[in-house]
């Protein structure tokens, strides 16, 4: 783990070069989550085909940890089956980033929350 209040190089890289920032024009599913205590918000859009995530994008209004969590999650989830993507956890984000400052772990949870909501939305829309 990194020191308190100190970001890993990986997290800083996602801050300065966010991956997959944006919104898919015709998503299979859209999910959002927020951290009411700080006002941070993330929206994730996914494109699903053959039960796999073909593409995904994120939008995050928030701190370094919130942006880095959502950005790295789009890399972790790309290409996964829906079932595998739904099993991603905050710990996977923390591992991929080499940790987050101790008080910032809720930011990883927000990214996971937005992804899971997008997957549920995609499933609902597929069966509708």
């Amino acid at each position: 783990m990194t020191e308190p209040d100190h970001y890993s190089d990986a997290a800083l890289d996602h801050l300065t070069r966010p991956r997959n920032a944006g919104t898919l024009p015709e998503p299979s599913g859209t999910g959002a989550d927020a951290n009411p205590s700080c006002g941070d918000r993330t929206v994730i859009t996914v494109a699903v085909a053959d039960d796999r995530i073909q593409a995904l994008r994120f939008r995050t209004f928030g701190c370094t940890a919130a942006i880095a969590s959502a950005s790295v999650l789009t890399e972790l989830a790309a290409g996964l089956t829906l079932a595998d993507a739904a099993r991603l956890e905050p710990a996977d984000i923390l591992n991929a980033l080499g940790g987050l400052p101790a008080r910032k772990e809720a930011c990883a949870l927000m990214a996971i929350g937005a992804l899971r909501a997008a997957l549920v939305d995609a499933r609902v829309r597929a069966t509708a």
């Binding site: 209040d5 970001y7 800083l12 801050l15 300065t16 966010p18 920032a21 944006g22 919104t23 959002a32 927020a34 205590s37 700080c38 006002g39 941070d40 918000r41 993330t42 929206v43 994120f58 939008r59 995050t60 209004f61 928030g62 701190c63 370094t64 919130a66 942006i67 950005s71 400052p101 008080r103 910032k104 809720a106």
Partner: protein
């Protein structure tokens, strides 16, 4: 990487002459100022010279200067000391919504313990409190009015002259936290109707951990801590001799540089503000456009979050700060930004740039080159349309 430090409102680097003087005192002056033999007398003489320097800088009598451990202690002594001295006689504190926590939280603490009634006055969109509001809040049991001189976050200067005059008419003690302004703006207590004034050395190129409270002669104020009776019983505890010497020297140097340096910083500040506003769409200047600290340029950028701005600028070599630090897990924007009536999301995107003696035109150019792409990148990542 070249570092550009633009956080002088947080703290300033210690002037090299001050460093030398303090090192000399630590090395060569072992005495306790309360001892009556030679070593003690030498330490005492240094403390009293520093007292003279601080007093002269604000037009005070040396006997009116009480050394403290910094601005927070000076504020605590002012509020707690006055309320204690007026116990059972007057209990009202009138202050503003944008005071430093050292004042607001002290007032709240006194209130929570049933020792004070606190009235917190709103400010306008530019952070100014109106003297009329202060007048309306006063009553027959008001003991103290506390209104800061210059705000540490947004730089707004308060109309302390008319507020002080109102207090004087009614015989109410007037305190001003002048931590951001002493050393930067002319302050003369012979014409400014203030009874108590907080001073902090590390805001004007002195050391951290030392400050002073100006206490106008005749002001009723009790001691807050008890002990050996130093500082005429008003702030007991063995004097921080080297720190006090540093405070005095830093004050003397600041006063000598003040006129030229403040004018220079105002010019840099105004170029910075104009540059940010022309290069970044939707840049909101926080604080008053003209009645502001010479070194403060503070903004909010919609669609960004302050912590991400600070971390991004740090990576590019800039030391800056934000009113929405987002480090505690519960990251409400600062009470100052919310008191301006800013929308919560907008207040999240705050950035404070505070200039200093070492700041150059090249530093401003570098910041103006680095900041716009960072704001653009964070806005692209957030999207203007992320739903609440």
């Amino acid at each position: 990487m070249r570092r550009v430090y633009l956080d002088h409102a947080a703290t300033t680097p210690v002037d090299t002459e001050v460093v030398e003087l303090m090192a000399q005192v630590l090395r060569d002056v072992p005495g306790n100022p309360s001892s009556i033999y030679a070593e003690g007398r030498r330490a005492r003489a240094l403390v009293e010279t520093a007292r003279d320097e601080v007093a002269r800088a604000i037009g005070a009598d040396p006997a009116e200067i009480v050394f403290t451990s910094g601005g927070t202690e000076a504020d605590n002594l002012a509020l707690r000391g006055v309320l204690k001295a007026r116990e059972r006689e007057a209990d009202g504190i009138v202050t503003t919504a944008i005071e430093h926590h050292a004042v607001l939280d002290t007032a709240r603490d006194l209130e929570a313990h049933g020792l004070a009634r606190v009235t917190v006055l709103a400010v306008d969109r530019e952070g100014r409190v109106s003297p009329d509001a202060v007048r309306a809040a006063m009553d027959g049991r008001t003991a103290l009015v506390s209104v800061m001189h210059g705000n540490n976050e947004i730089g707004t200067l308060q109309p302390i002259q008319p507020i002080g005059a109102l207090c004087r008419e009614r015989g109410i003690t007037f305190h001003s936290d002048a931590v951001q302004t002493v050393g930067a703006l002319e302050i003369d207590v012979r014409t400014l109707p203030v009874d108590l004034l907080s001073v902090n050395a590390h805001k004007f190129y002195g050391p951290k951990g030392v400050g002073a409270l100006y206490v106008r002669k005749g002001t009723r104020i009790a001691t807050v801590q008890t002990g050996g009776g130093q500082e005429k019983g008003r702030r007991t505890g063995t004097e921080n001799v080297a720190g006090i010497v540093g405070l005095g020297a830093a004050m003397r140097i600041a006063i000598a540089k003040r006129a030229a340096e403040s004018a220079r910083q105002v010019a840099l500040r105004d170029r910075l503000i104009a540059g940010v506003r022309s290069l970044i769409p939707d840049a909101t200047l926080t604080g008053h456009p003209t009645e502001r600290l010479p070194n403060n340029a503070s903004f909010c950028f919609a669609g960004t979050q302050g912590e991400a701005l600070v971390v991004s600028l740090d990576l590019e070599g800039f030391g800056v700060s934000s009113g929405s630090a987002c480090t505690s897990g519960n990251t409400d924007p600062s009470h100052v930004l919310l008191a301006l009536g800013l929308d919560r999301d907008l207040a999240q995107g705050s950035l404070r740039l505070s200039l200093g003696r070492a700041t150059t035109d090249a530093d401003i150019d570098a910041l103006l080159a680095a900041l716009p792409p960072i704001v653009a990148r964070l806005r692209a990542a957030s999207g203007a349309a992320v739903p609440a």
